[in-house]
């Protein structure tokens, strides 16, 4: 039995090149499905990875109560800021001013929201992943800024040594920094005090970053805020904060990817069915001869299925390869609804996503091969031999 299956399948696969034209329909159809699915899932994965990399478990962010998700709409006054500094469980804190400015994208030349973050020196201790890779850090008290690597790549005029006009004042880009591929790499950083005066914020800040003594400290901080009626602050662990920001777009893109791939898959499945029915019908005499020689129905079914699955696998691999070579590491920048600013991220084709693509390809191959295979096995031998 196994030998039969093996022989027929092999015979079948050897004949494949003769049916190249029609077989390519399966390969291209399923390849297209897999390429689209993998590319879109890689986009969602890249986006959420970029934001998730921005958070650490032992760091927390403090915002004004009510502006639960956005640094942009939050303001914290000096008194609240000092209160936070006195609390137990806070190892280090950095007051930060967060605003956005319009800078044209290199790709479209249209103005886009770029984050400008005024920070204290402690910001660098709290975020050890931020490293200057070119130039130097800004000097406190001067109109100097450092740019995240992605910000430099995406936006016009953000080059080392260049002068940038932001809200009527001119800044020199003195350094480029990396931050483990996180969302911070899409930002421009400068000295807090300079930013406050340039953007007329006086002593106000937007948010605070805290280095906690231990990851659980956030809960006791929130309790301390709630127990003080003159304080209106909310604390969130940084991980949770960024997860919340990525959730919306990640869900949207993932859902979109599966939706599109599903409809394409239906189309590709019908195409595969068509091809396999045609393949079976051109091999009618051959299959009947095999049956007459004593080959069973099962080997015939399996041989047709094997052909469909083999073609689907080729298609799946090709599609995955197209997505991998075409998109892996491809950088795009979009408006993150959560922060109302541009975040650059790379498409990330992961083994998981590739596996999903291949599973889809194989399932489609099976679905497209099943009915034609059954038809091949059910063929009445005598009539088929006559070529009816």
């Amino acid at each position: 039995m196994l030998a039969q299956i093996f022989q027929i399948s092999l015979l079948n696969l050897r004949n494949l090149p003769q049916r190249l034209g029609s077989s390519s329909v399966i390969v291209v159809g399923i390849g297209g499905v897999v390429a689209v699915l993998v590319a879109i899932l890689a986009m969602a994965a890249g986006f959420s990875a970029t934001l998730n990399r921005s958070g650490a478990p032992d760091r927390a962010i403090v915002l004004r109560g009510g502006s639960s998700s956005a640094e942009l709409s939050s303001t914290i006054d000096n008194r609240s800021r000092q209160f936070v500094g006195t609390l137990d469980g806070v190892r280090l804190s950095s007051g930060e001013l967060y605003t956005v400015a319009d800078i044209p994208k290199r790709a479209t030349l249209l103005p886009s929201n770029v984050v400008i973050r005024g920070v204290e020196q402690s910001a660098f201790e709290i975020r050890p992943e931020v490293r200057i890779i070119e130039g130097r850090n800004f000097s406190p008290g001067r109109n100097e800024l450092i740019a995240g690597r992605a910000a430099g790549e995406q936006f016009v005029g953000i080059d080392l040594g260049a002068m940038v006009e932001l809200r009527q004042s001119v800044w020199e880009v003195v350094g480029i920094f990396e931050a483990d591929g996180s969302a911070y790499e899409s930002e421009l950083w400068t000295d807090l005090a300079i930013a406050q005066s340039a953007f007329r914020r006086f002593s106000l800040i937007s948010s605070m970053r805290l280095q906690l003594e231990h990851p659980g400290a956030a809960d006791s901080l929130q309790e301390a805020f709630d127990n003080n009626p003159s304080i209106d602050l909310a604390v969130t662990s940084e991980e949770e904060f960024f997860r919340g920001q990525s959730q919306f777009l990640t869900t949207l893109i993932t859902g979109f990817g599966y939706g599109v791939a599903l409809i394409m898959a239906v189309g590709a499945m019908f195409a595969a069915l068509n091809t396999m029915y045609a393949a079976v019908s051109t091999r009618t005499v051959e299959i009947a001869t095999l049956r007459a020689l004593g080959f069973g129905a099962a080997p015939v079914v399996i041989s047709v299925l094997a052909e469909a699955v083999a073609l689907a696998l080729i298609g799946g691999l090709l599609g995955a390869a197209v997505a991998w070579f075409g998109f892996n590491g491809y950088t795009v920048s979009t408006l993150n609804q959560g922060s109302f600013s541009q975040v650059a991220f790379d498409f990330a084709v992961s083994p998981d996503i590739l596996a999903t693509g291949i599973v889809w390809a194989l399932s489609l191959g099976l679905a497209g091969g099943l009915f034609p295979a059954l038809q091949a096995a059910r063929m009445p031998i005598t009539r088929a031999l006559r070529g009816d």
Binding site: G29, S69, M264
Partner: protein
């Protein structure tokens, strides 16, 4: 047209094959209808914005805000027929997925400027008269099951109240519709005067942007420049552009949605082209003796070629029409679900027509080669097969 029954029965002589091909084409055009409509939702604000309206925004970033005192100066600029202001409110109704834009506005002037927004005059009076009044687009009211007179709570995030609360409550006094239903943003509108009094005193008098109607749309460029010149040296400089241009700039921030949709669609159509071409070639190959018989009976070469071509056009046209119709139904069914994510999604006439056009074109491209071979078919040789 006499040949239509012949073409029809040729098309369906191999039912399984034709239907399978048809389903693939339907799937392709279902995707076409959906993806183009989604891309359209992002471009919509651009296409339907008023031609005679300008948008005055803060020069450096839309988050900055402008002082309301700019309004009087803008109104005085030559060529300005009317102006009002609007403020991005943000805020959440019940939960964050209930997304719709909310703006405090000057009721009467706002509806004057957005002349495509239609509201009952009595309701507009109430909107102007009642301090905490709000009006909403009819479809939004329907979606959330609101009634006139309902109090609608909105949790503020950007704008907090001076009394320390972040809860704003508005009384729904009216609904409006948009002429031709081409709404840019289905916005929830409420009274600016109430909003301004109630917000934290430090933040009073700040608005997001101004909307300006010009006397002559052809002069939009000059008028924009005059407005910006007014404020160039103030601490709140402006950037003025047509409503269309500023919507386009904002949509572009999301990224090139159109490009992504079109890349997916090219992948889809490439596949469908290959598949349908394959089917048509197969169909022709099987039918060579028949075509030879037709030629023997006196059908001209041209007519036989046309029969083959029309068969392919019919197949693709049928698939295209059904696919586009399906996407229309799907959008109607999914519309309310998607609205929270993507705003108003509609199947436009343009999408429908271009879909049908592409389907017919696909039919011609796919059928051309088989048709030409049918035309060249030597009768004697073909009969012998």
């Amino acid at each position: 047209m006499k040949s239509f029954p012949l073409i029809w029965s040729n098309l369906f002589r191999r039912r399984v094959r034709t239907f399978l091909t048809l389903f693939s084409i339907i799937a392709a055009f279902l995707l076409f209808g959906l993806l183009r409509s989604i891309a359209g939702a992002f471009e919509m604000g651009v296409n339907v914005a008023g031609v005679d309206r300008l948008m005055v925004s803060p020069k450096y970033s839309m988050v900055d805000g402008l002082p309301i005192s700019h309004l009087a100066q803008i109104e005085a600029v030559e060529g300005v027929a009317g102006a009002t202001h609007m403020t991005w409110f943000g805020g959440t109704y019940q939960n964050p997925t209930n997304f719709f834009p909310k703006f405090p506005v000057q009721p009467r002037v706002y509806f004057d400027l957005y002349s495509e927004y239609i509201i009952d005059p009595l309701q507009l009076d109430a909107f102007e008269r009642i301090r905490t009044a709000a009006v909403a687009p009819a479809d939004l009211v329907e979606e959330y099951g609101w009634q006139i007179g309902d109090r609608i709570p909105i949790e503020g995030d950007i704008w907090l109240r001076g009394d320390g609360s972040d809860l704003w409550e508005f009384e729904l006094v009216g609904t409006y519709t948009v002429r031709d239903d081409e709404s840019t943003f289905a916005s929830f509108l409420f009274n600016y005067d109430y909003f301004d009094e109630a917000r934290i005193p430090d933040t009073q008098g700040i608005v997001s942007n101004f909307v300006v109607r010009v006397t002559d749309p052809d002069q939009a460029g000059e008028i924009s420049a005059r407005i910006d010149a007014q404020f160039e040296n103030s601490i709140n400089p402006t950037r003025t552009a047509t409503e269309e241009e500023s919507n386009r700039q904002f949509a572009a921030q999301v990224g090139d949605i159109g490009l992504i949709m079109n890349s997916i669609l090219s992948a889809v159509f490439f596949t469908i082209l290959l598949l349908t071409a394959n089917t048509m070639t197969q169909a022709l190959r099987e039918r060579i003796p028949e075509l030879a018989v037709l030629k023997t009976l006196g059908f001209t070469d041209r007519r036989v070629a046309l029969l083959v071509l029309l068969e392919s056009v019919l197949l693709c046209g049928l698939g295209g029409a059904v696919g586009i119709a399906l996407s229309g139904f799907a959008l109607q069914a999914l519309g309310p679900e998607l609205q929270g994510f993507l705003g108003q999604i509609e199947m436009t006439v343009a999408t429908t027509l271009s879909g049908v056009g592409i389907a017919l074109l696909l039919g011609v491209v796919v059928g051309l080669n088989p048709a030409l071979s049918a035309r060249r078919l030597p009768v004697v040789e073909a009969l012998r097969k």
